[in-house]
Amino acid sequence: MKEMYDVLVIGAGVVGCSIARELSKYKLKILVVEKGEDVASEGASKANSAILHAGYDPVPGSLKAKLNVRGNEMYDELCKDLDVPIKRTGSLVVAFSEEEAKELYELFDRGIKNGVKGLSLITKDMVKEIEPHINDTVVAALYAKTAGIICPYGYTIAVAENAAQNGAEFVFNSEVTDIKKNGDFFIVKTHKEEFYSKYVVNAAGLYSDVINNMVGAKPFSVHPRKGEYLILDKDQGYLARTVIFQVPTKMGKGILVSPTVDGNLLIGPTSEDIQDKEFKATTKEGLNKAITVAKRSVDKFDVRKTITQFTGLRATPDTEDKDFIIGESDVKGFINAAGIESPGFTAAPAIAEMIRDILKDAGLQLIEKVDFNPKRKPVIRFTELSDEERNKLIKENPAYGRIICRCETVTEGEIIDVIRRPVGAKSLDGVKRRVRAGMGRCQGSFCGPRVVEILARELNISPLEVTKHGRNSNILTAETKKFLLEKAAEVLKKEVYENA
């Protein structure tokens, strides 16, 4: 008999990984199956606004409201345990007219109903005190003290790593192609293999409808809502201290200006409903829109200081209430954590608790593990160490004295560490998301070749096999002289053939 998992989670985004970690507290056999080559490598957990929402936005009584507020509260302890940087910067919803200011009252009331703590309506002077670089056209703002900023993929990677430390298993490059209920368990097929599991949790983000419909549960659909972003150089980071929103519209919470936890300035997202779930491109119109609207809040940023742009796709459910789709489906043992759009990242740890309870209600036996370790092995961040600590470290391991990424001051030691960790980096982007090598102003021009070399050495593969983000995203295409020889051989063959 093939191995039987207790719970198989589909999707290694922040929701799937949070569920896996939550369940790894119990004596369970857990498997996370991910289509991409890495954690948070494909979907919304990789590309979003990188913030923790306070929770005044969702409709009172909704899952979004409840899980947002609960999730927000959980992050301080989680980030401490998982060694993930977090900053409780607070957020502002800024009104630029008396009319917009009226909307702030509504948001405030909603926040109170949702149980959000630390909300206040503030005057222009107070806004300027909090955000000296905000435009003078500001009239008033809603200030939410509990909002914060965090690196979304950094957090997801940390959660996955800790889940793996506690026994959860992960498989990557494994797109689920079929799920069948076979008596009291499921057979989950991927392109490569099949897995047996008593319960299946659907945390497939934008594809959670496909997975749900595959198993034959009551169908629903999820569509992508595209958001385009720009990231500006760290020398622009001073322009925002909090997350600066504008008064929201029905398409979302609008375009924000925010510092990132690493000190850059983030601008975006736009909001546009599209059909193609694989659309990951930025567009000229989208970027221009993000810039124009952001300038309404803070017009001092210098667009020429843009270091990169990206598009994120929100998994927007096409249900009437637009709420998260969480619960056991009509197929017993198949549980949805689907249609998790904003504030999904903030809600993720609370969603994980909820899924745990749903599994328990569905009959899964939860026996706590005595040896569960909530703490991730601490991460060494060279830039954050004192010189004494650096010297001690370099003496123990000289690789920490070799700077590979000049822009972000990342050492070889740190890169090797993230390749060797559980659920480690396997690609250039994997390294970049974990240690920021290649994420600075030169965008990997200098360190790219060095990281390729380190990956090839550590993974014991040829540099030709090193990819940017898995699949066919190889960085290099041929060895120089070999390529010429192959071409020459072709020509010769052709000549011989023609002469014959």
């Binding site: 491109a281 270091i307 003496k395 070749p449 940017k468 290099l476 041929a478």
Partner: protein, 419 residues
């Protein structure tokens, strides 16, 4: 704390030139700090020839040019720290660095010469919409892969930008069997040297599409193609002219930026146009005792000019450690009509021995124009120039006698007069 008379940050052509000059002028307690595993900097990956025509009166490859200096560094036994990264410099000339042997350490420098070179503008900085697949890289990175690591980054290539490194790589990749489908340049002229356009593109029938740009990148995992379009006089793409080119690689050669993060930390004032420090006639930055030369100061076309600049920086550093601070540089040097920038940006005539060399770049292409130096309404110099182009740096030598005629309050202005 270590002590050196001169600390040179960067072991490329600028750093090497400065070190050799300082040693030959008798200052031997010097050190070169280099972040890579070897000296020579970017020259080591420039295996094409054309280096050294002025300096050595012969055509050398990049590594050969570098080796001439490295040999001298070895002969003189000049201190070199390899694989060592400078983390910080302070206005009182303390240099903090790290390597795997010594860990983090500090050096007290009599004078500092900045010679960190430049980096390439990446994709993000030019905002090309589209996907983010593998196969997008800067020309310098491509050069490193091909010439140093022995790998081809792609087989069917489009190059955006006609900077010199891009042109050189068009030829290099062609010689390695790749197909370079086009070099696409936003401006109506190339930003590269004429000799490179002839020898690297024309000789290989590679089309140079002026006034064109890449408007979208396609491909999910690896680049599958780019859409290019002609641009109007405001550099806005004309959508009707859009065409798709299939390729697996997009190489960017869209400009070089002096690497001045360290300088900024030391409070050195930068010129927003050059991206390098504002310097005086001694190539001294706004912080006394810290000098700059080579591509960290301004992006050069020819390494020979870098070497010349490095010599001046070395001699100035020596004078600083022997005589102390220089007098105030009171004449402001400005770029006028048709000139993008001039280096140095300020001068003190008293410090000039006989003459001084100004380096500048035109903003546009001018044929048979007058290059003019004025102070107020007074003409200090008028020179006929057959051709001025942004791709080729312009030198102007001014003698001390001419400069004495300048009006200190009005400063001096370099400009182009047409017709």
């Amino acid at each position: 704390m270590l002590n050196y008379d001169i600390v040179i940050i960067g072991g490329g052509p600028a750093g090497l030139g400065a070190a050799v000059e300082a040693y030959e002028k008798g200052v031997k307690n010097i050190v070169i700090i280099e972040r890579d595993k070897y000296l020579g900097g970017i020259l080591q990956q420039c295996i094409h020839n054309g280096f050294g025509l002025q300096e050595f009166k012969e055509e050398l490859t990049g590594p050969e040019y570098a080796q001439r200096f490295i040999d001298k560094v070895e002969e003189y036994d000049i201190n070199v720290m390899l694989e060592t990264m400078v983390l910080e410099i302070t206005p009182d000339r303390i240099v903090k660095a790290v390597n795997s042997k010594e860990g983090v350490f500090t050096i007290k420098a009599g004078a500092i010469i900045l010679a960190m070179g430049c980096r390439e503008r990446p994709r993000g900085a030019i905002m090309i919409p589209g996907t983010r697949p593998a196969g997008i890289l800067t020309a310098g990175t491509a050069q490193r892969y091909v010439n140093m690591e022995g790998y081809l980054p792609g087989k069917e290539i489009v190059i955006l930008g006609s900077g010199d490194v891009g042109l050189i790589m068009a030829r290099r990749l062609t010689l390695e069997g790749a197909k370079v489908k086009a070099v696409v340049e936003l401006m109506p002229y190339s930003s590269g040297l004429t000799r490179n356009i002839v020898q690297c593109l024309e000789d290989f029938n590679i089309p140079l599409l002026l006034s064109h740009t890449v408007i979208e990148i396609h491909g999910k995992d690896r680049v599958e193609g780019v859409t290019i379009a002609k641009v109007d006089e405001n550099r806005e793409p004309i959508m009707e002219t859009a065409q798709y080119i299939s390729c697996d690689t997009l190489i960017l050669s869209v400009g070089l930026i002096p690497e001045n993060e360290l300088s900024q930390k030391a409070g050195i004032e930068l010129d927003p146009i050059t991206g390098g420090p504002i310097v005086n006639e001694m190539l001294e930055t706004s912080v006394p005792g810290i000098f700059a030369c080579g591509n960290v100061l301004q992006v050069h076309d020819l390494v020979d000019n870098v070497t010349a600049e490095a010599r001046l920086a070395a001699n100035s550093a020596i004078r600083f450690i022997r005589e102390g601070e220089f007098g105030k540089s009171s004449i402001i040097v400005k770029a006028g009509n048709g000139i993008r920038y001039v280096v140095p940006q300020k001068i003190n005539v008293d410090n000039i021995e006989k003459r001084i060399k100004f380096r500048m770049r035109p903003v546009n292409v001018y044929n048979n124009a007058m290059l003019v130096v004025k102070s107020g309404d007074k003409y200090l110099l008028r020179q006929k120039r057959q051709r001025l182009t942004p791709g080729e740096m312009v030198d102007v030598n001014l003698s001390k006698d001419i400069l004495k005629n300048a009006n200190f309050e009005e400063g001096i202005v370099f400009l182009v007069e047409e017709g």
